[in-house]
Symmetry: C3
Subunit: 319 residues, 3 copies
C-alpha cells in the first residue's frame, strides 16, 4: 500500500498543512489564488467575512511566538472564527501530561482546527496523525523542519511582484542549516517551477548534501547574488553569532549581510524579502531593509491573507 501524503484526504484535497514538501503545485496555487480574494478583505473598512463563524480554532504554541500567533489570530478572527490561545509550556505539559493527551483533550472540546508551533520537528505531523477525523492541523513551525505558511506567503509575494515563477532566479541567504523557513521555501519554489534556486551561506550554516534538494550552493555572496530576481534573506539566530558556527556577528555582516553594494550584483528590479524579525546590521543593512527594493512589509500583509486562505480551504474540506 502506498504511504499516502498525510496532508491530503482520499480525494487529494488539503486536510492538514504540515509542510510544503510533497504538496502538489495545484494545491499550492489553490492557496495562492484563494489568498488573492482575501487581500481585498483586509483592506476594507469592515475587515471580516463570516466564512468560519462558530468554528473553534486553537493556537497551540508549545514554543512562544507572539508575532506568529498574532498573525493566525488575526486571520481566524477576520474569518469570524472563535480563537483560543494556549501557551502550553506553562500548563498541562509541565504537569506531565503527554502531547497527545493534551491534544486529544482539546479535540474533545469540539475543536475544528489546531495551529501548532513546537520546538521539535515532527510535532505537527504527530498531532495530525492522531487527531480524530474532522480536525485540521496547521504547522506554524516545528523545530528545524518546516514553516509552510511562511513559505506560502513568500510565494504569494513573489508572484505578486514577479508574476511568474518559471523564469526566476532566486537566492536564499543565511543560516540554511537551522532554518525551517529555508526548507519550506526550497520545496515550494521547486514545486512551483522556479528554474534556479540558490543557497548562499558559509559552510558551517549549510546542511550536508543540500544540493539534493535541487539547489545551487554558493559560499561567496557576490557571485551568488549575480543576476538574481529574488533575494530571500534569513534571520540569524543570536545563538549562532558566536562560538561553533560563526566567529562574530560583525564578521557575518561583512560576508553575508545584505548591503546596497552586494545588492547591486542582483538584477536592478530584484526584490528583497525577509521573514522577520530582522537583525538590522547583522543579516541586512537598514538602507536595504527600508529601501525601494524591499518587499518585507508587503510580506507581512500577504501573510494574513495566506493564513485566511489556508484556514478557509481546510474548513471547507470533508473528512
Amino acid at each position: 500500500m502506498i504511504n499516502r501524503n498525510p496532508q491530503l484526504n482520499k480525494h487529494r484535497k488539503l486536510q492538514h498543512l504540515l509542510t510544503t514538501e510533497g504538496l502538489p503545485a495545484e494545491i499550492l496555487l489553490q492557496i495562492l489564488d484563494t489568498a488573492e480574494t482575501f487581500v481585498g478583505v483586509t483592506e476594507r473598512d469592515v475587515k471580516k467575512v463570516p466564512l468560519l463563524r462558530g468554528k473553534s480554532i486553537f493556537n497551540l504554541f508549545f514554543e512562544p511566538s507572539t508575532r506568529t500567533r498574532t498573525t493566525f489570530e488575526i486571520a481566524a478572527k477576520r474569518l469570524s472564527a472563535d480563537v483560543f490561545n494556549l501557551n502550553i509550556a506553562v500548563s498541562a505539559q509541565s504537569k506531565g501530561e503527554t502531547l497527545l493527551d493534551t491534544v486529544n483533550n482539546l479535540a474533545a472540546m469540539d475543536a475544528d482546527m489546531f495551529v501548532v508551533r513546537h520546538s521539535q520537528s515532527g510535532a505537527a505531523h504527530l498531532i495530525a496523525k492522531h487527531a480524530r477525523p474532522g480536525i485540521h492541523v496547521i504547522n506554524a513551525g516545528d523545530g528545524r523542519h518546516a514553516h509552510p505558511t511562511q513559505a506560502l506567503l513568500d510565494m504569494f509575494t513573489i508572484r505578486r511582484f514577479k508574476h511568474e515563477f518559471h523564469n526566476l532566479r532566486v537566492a536564499i541567504v543565511g543560516d540554511i542549516l537551522h532554518s525551517r523557513v529555508a526548507r519550506s521555501q526550497i520545496h515550494a519554489l521547486t514545486t512551483l517551477g522556479v528554474p534556479e534556486v540558490r543557497v548562499i551561506a558559509p559552510k558551517t550554516l549549510l546542511p550536508s548534501r543540500v544540493e539534493r534538494l535541487g539547489v545551487h550552493v554558493f559560499h561567496d555572496m557576490r557571485s551568488g547574488l549575480k543576476d538574481v530576481d529574488v533575494l530571500m534573506m534569513l534571520r540569524l539566530q543570536k545563538e549562532r553569532m558566536q562560538g561553533a558556527y560563526l566567529p562574530s556577528s560583525e564578521e557575518y555582516f561583512k560576508n553575508y549581510g545584505l548591503t546596497p553594494e552586494k545588492l547591486s550584483m542582483a538584477r536592478p528590479d530584484a526584490i528583497v524579502m525577509h521573514p522577520g524579525p530582522m537583525n538590522r546590521g547583522v543579516e541586512i543593512d537598514s538602507s536595504v531593509a527600508d529601501g525601494g527594493q524591499s518587499v518585507i512589509l508587503p510580506q507581512v500583509t500577504f501573510g494574513i491573507a495566506i493564513r485566511m486562505a489556508v484556514m478557509s480551504i481546510l474548513a471547507g474540506q470533508q473528512v
Copy 2:
C-alpha cells in the same frame, strides 16, 4: 434567622455556583438537563447560540490552569459572551492590592460573571459574598475545597452512560485528602441518590473521619472495586509522590494504579473516569485510559456543555 445558602437567591434559584455541597437535587438536575440541550450545539457546524450576547465574563485565575480556563472560555464564547482572561498573580495582586479591591474594580467595569480559580479554599465564597448584586460567581476550583463544575460534568457523564443514579455503586480512587474534585463528587453523588459511594486510598491520603460524608472506606483497591458500576480516578499530584504521603510513584501504581487486572474486579460494564490531566503509569495504566470502558474524553466534551448550562442558568436569574 437561618443562614441562607449563599448560592441561592431568595427565590431559591441558583445565584452563584460555589460548591456542590448543600445544593438541592433539583438544582443539580436543572443543570444536567440544561446541559443536555447544549451537547447538540457543540456538535453543530456553527457552534454558537446568542444567549449571552453582550455579557462580560471574567476568567479570574489566581492559580494558573490553561486547561480549565480554556473550557470556560469555550463555553462563554459558544454562548456569544465577551470573555476576558485575567491572570491575576502577575498583576494587581503583586502590586499589593487586596483580593476584594481587585474584584470590586472589575465589577465596576460592568462585569456580569466571574469564573474564579484560587489556591485558597473559600476564595470564591468570599468574592460572592462581597460582590455587588447582579454579579454571578462560578468557582473553578478553590484550594482543597470544591470544584463544582468538574463534579457536575462527572454526574452528567454518569447519567449519560448509566441513566440512573439510584442503583449505582461508585468508587472514587486516589488522593481524597488533597482533592477538591473528590469532595465535590461525593456531595453531588449523595445528593443525587447514589446508594453506595466508596473511597479507596491509602490512609495517608484520606481525610480524618471521611465516613461522615456518607462514604465507605477501602484501603485495598481490589476489594474496593468489587462490583462497582463507576470508577472515578483522581489525579495524583507530583508533590505527593515522595516523602510524607507516599514512598514512590511506582509503589502507588502497584497498589492503587488502575490496571486491567484491578478493573476486572468491577462490573463488566463499569465505566472509568478521570478529571485529567492523567499521570499515565501512576494512577492509571494506558491500556485502561485508552480502553473500551474509558469515558475520559466524553467527560471533556460534556464539560463544555455543563459550563454553558451553568453560565446560562446564572445569567437568566434575577437578583
Copy 3:
C-alpha cells in the same frame, strides 16, 4: 512652519491621543460628551454597539498591566472591534527587533489602532510619528510622562459629581514627581478652566519648578486640603517607600495618608478619587476609600465609557 500638534490632523480633529497637554478644551469636552452616550450602553443588558465592527485594535503592552489592558479590551469589545493583546516584552523585543520594526509589522497586518503602554516616556509619540496614515495611537501610559485616558476619566468623574469646572478647588496629593497620572490631570484641569489646582507632597516627591504648570504647592496636607472640592489621591509606588524618597510608608501615611480627620479639612461635599490600585493604609485609609465621599469605583465605571469614546472618535476620523 509651525510644529503642528501631533495629536490633531490638518482639520484639527483628534488623530492620536498621546497626552492631555496641548489638547484644546473643545477636544477634551468632545471626549467627555461622547463618553456620556456610552455610560448608558454599559448599563444595558446587551452591552455592545457595532461602531467598530471589523476594526483591529492592538493592545501593545511593553510594560505589563492587566488592569489597564483589560479596560481597553472591554471598551474595544463593547464597540464590537477585534482586539489583540500583545505582551511585547516576552517576544519580538527580546529577539532584538527595534520598537519601530515591531510596530510597522503589526501595522502591515492592517491594524486600525494601537493602545500603547511603555516604560519609556515618549514611546507612544514615537510610534504615532512613524505609523502609516490611517493608524491611530492611544497612549495608555508612557514612563513618567502621560496617561491621558486616566486624566480624562477623572475629568468625566469630576463633571458628573460637580457639574462645572470653573468654580472648583482641586488638590492632587502624593508622588507628583514620578506620576504620569498627575501630569495628565494637571494639564486637563487647567485646560478645562479649574481656577485653583493644588499639589500636596513632600519636597522629595515634587518636580522642580512644578509651579510653572499653574499649580499651587503645599507640603502640609491639612492646609492644602482646606476647602477643596475634589481630592485626587495618587498611588505611592512601593519602591518609593524606603530610601532616598521617603523614610517609611508609616511616616508617609502619618503625613500624607488620607484619613477622615484630614478629609474633614476639605469641603463637606468634597469627593475623593484614586486611580487605583490603592495601597490601603499608605496613601489612603480604608474608612475613606470605602466611605460616602469616595467616587473611586464610579471612576472605574466611567473609565470604560471614556475609552469607548476615545476609540470611536479616533476611528471616525479621516487621515
